[in-house]
């Protein structure tokens, strides 16, 4: 559960991303695939070397889902239920991969926000994304 302060930090960071989900999503996926190449197995439909267009399309989808989570930090389970079903029944992404995505998210935010990516912001965002990951993998078994 996020405190009011933590929710404020999450919203503050989201302000940077809102409207630019495709660009941020593409960068997130590019960082993920470059730093942790094994994660590409979950994106075989993007090909061995996904091009910019594919990264933008799929990146937008991922970040839009994060946006849904940002709007519903109090009701994550309900808001993300269809996505949780998808991950459990179709995608079956090993839960160990979510911390890798989260790390790339932090590095991306840090590189864009620089000094403004304060330790409180990082802590709040880490807690938030970890909760999202937990909800997405909750129905696995």
């Amino acid at each position: 559960m996020l405190s009011a302060q933590e929710r404020a930090h999450v919203a503050q960071v989201w302000d940077l991303i809102a409207g630019h989900e495709a660009a941020f999503g593409a960068e997130l996926l590019l960082r993920l695939f470059t730093v942790y190449p094994s994660t590409k197995i979950y994106f075989k439909h993007l090909g061995v070397c996904p091009d910019e267009a594919q990264l933008l399309t799929h990146g937008q989808r991922v970040l839009e889902a994060v946006g849904v989570a940002v709007q519903h930090t109090d009701h994550l389970r309900a808001a993300l239920s269809p996505l949780a079903d998808l991950h459990a029944q179709v995608l079956r992404v090993d839960p160990a991969n979510f911390p890798l995505l989260i790390q790339c998210f932090h590095v991306m935010l840090a590189s864009h926000l620089q000094g403004e990516f304060t330790v409180q912001m990082q802590a709040a965002w880490d807690k938030f994304l970890t909760e999202v990951a937990m909800v997405l993998t909750e129905k696995y078994r």
Partner: protein
């Protein structure tokens, strides 16, 4: 690669390649990415920030720093002189890793003994600290911290974490 000769039974000669005793191989590009960025790092500043962030974002890591005084709040931690000093020490040690990327196991043999045999640090912490180094570097180097640079640094911090954890195996 060095070759070894083994004489088996019945005089059969077998020649095998002797693999170098290093687990991780860094390409020239990866080394360049690491070394060039490192040259611009303010070790004292970045070290304090890295350790401070670790203790704030993952509060359970504070269990190894009971004698560091006031860790009761985010500002207390980030301003704590012992945290800053120790952060500097830790990151200085990383500088040694940058100089010996091909020989991390030997370079960190003593530190591995200290962390594993004496301080009993959960090796998971080495990974968390490594992740924190990348995040702080990204705040300082911004667009220069490209996916490729991130990948090279991730490879280094993972390799250092493994070298530090060696004594547990």
């Amino acid at each position: 690669m060095e070759k070894q000769q083994h004489r088996l039974a019945f005089g059969t000669l077998v020649i095998t390649s002797k693999l170098p005793d290093t687990m991780v191989h860094f390409t020239a590009e990866e080394k360049a990415a690491v070394v060039s960025l490192w040259a611009k790092v303010n070790v004292e500043l970045v070290g304090g920030e890295v350790l401070g962030r670790l203790l704030v974002v993952y509060p359970w890591t504070q269990r190894f720093f009971d004698n560091f005084g006031n860790l009761s709040s985010e500002s207390a931690i980030m301003g704590n002189p012992k945290v800053k000093a120790h952060g500097k020490k830790v990151l200085t040690s990383f500088g040694n890793a940058v100089k010996h990327m091909d020989d991390l196991k030997d370079t960190f043999a003593e530190l591995s003994e200290l962390h594993c045999d004496k301080m009993h640090v959960d090796p998971e912490n080495f990974k968390l600290l490594g992740n924190m180094i990348l995040i702080v570097l990204a705040t300082h180097f911004s667009k220069e911290f490209t996916p490729q640079v991130q990948a090279a640094w991730q490879k280094l911090t993972t390799a250092v974490a493994n070298a530090l954890a060696h004594r547990y195996h």
